[in-house]
Subunit: 193 residues, 2 copies
Amino acid sequence: MKDLEERIIADGHVLPGNILLVDGFLNQGLDVELFDAMAGVWYRYFADEQITKVMTIEASGIAIAAMVAKKFSVPALFAKKYDTVNLTSDRHQSSVYSYTKEKEYTIAVSKRLLKEDDRVLIVDDFLANGCALKGLIDLVESANASVAGIGIAIEKSFQEGPELIRSRGFKLCSLAKIVSLEEGEIIFAEADA
Amino acid sequence: MKDLEERIIADGHVLPGNILLVDGFLNQGLDVELFDAMAGVWYRYFADEQITKVMTIEASGIAIAAMVAKKFSVPALFAKKYDTVNLTSDRHQSSVYSYTKEKEYTIAVSKRLLKEDDRVLIVDDFLANGCALKGLIDLVESANASVAGIGIAIEKSFQEGPELIRSRGFKLCSLAKIVSLEEGEIIFAEADA
């Protein structure tokens, strides 16, 4: 998606350790006009998938999920993160390893919010190692619901997550694919939409 | 706001300790059509306030803030929560006491995202003791920006927050005002809009 790539070039900051900082418009400051345009692209891409829910994980995916859900006229929901595993039986839960925080945490969603006949579009701001996304897929599958598609704003194609997800056969639509951040230069591959 | 009150009656659950559970549509499951209607009410209520940013705190306010920002055609932003105070000088920060978790935490927002000439509409899902809202107001004032208005979905009028905020002269618009949850019965006062 050309608008997103241009915005990343204009306002993104590359930090040491292949970190791309986009908090000015994507995951703290929220450019909702851009999100609406992104939602429109996914709406066309997943038009035939009979989406019934849009799901993400707190916190940075929530605004994107809300705008996408509005486009599809379906509810959104988000998985919550917990440091402990002291959870009740009314929630689906999964374990996620965070490389940034170097620890395991639990994600969970109320069983009332995900049903067997749900066709879920998972969305998130980033896909890198794929740990959080794998956790979200686990939650959907725990509910015997279907992952009907995955929409990612920025894919770090040089990390293992994207290949891992595609090799499992999921329909993944990344709007910006970054193949390199070496020496602070942002290099894109052709995006999915 | 009649739609919101009716939804609270239909899908809210009163738990011991005056807790109102609305995770089916407001703060985990997200009814974005309802949020869009709420955004429309606030858009009319704060029409003359020259809003330049819509601000909230992670996580449950984010989807609401995104829908409201879209209505005003301005960016949204959210304050992040931190367990520690190990923060850098490029962020405004404030301290918030959580009664539920019985501990102090830090909230912060990048200085790049709040400017002196910003007129900020603060929104959140709940207003009860007012601690989180007071923290958000602190952040806006740290940036020498203005709090142009405050939009709350559900106000617990029997707690101290609403009176505290109104007595400081802020323009507060609560869409549902609950005066009692005694014996599991939800009693509303007339809302602001």
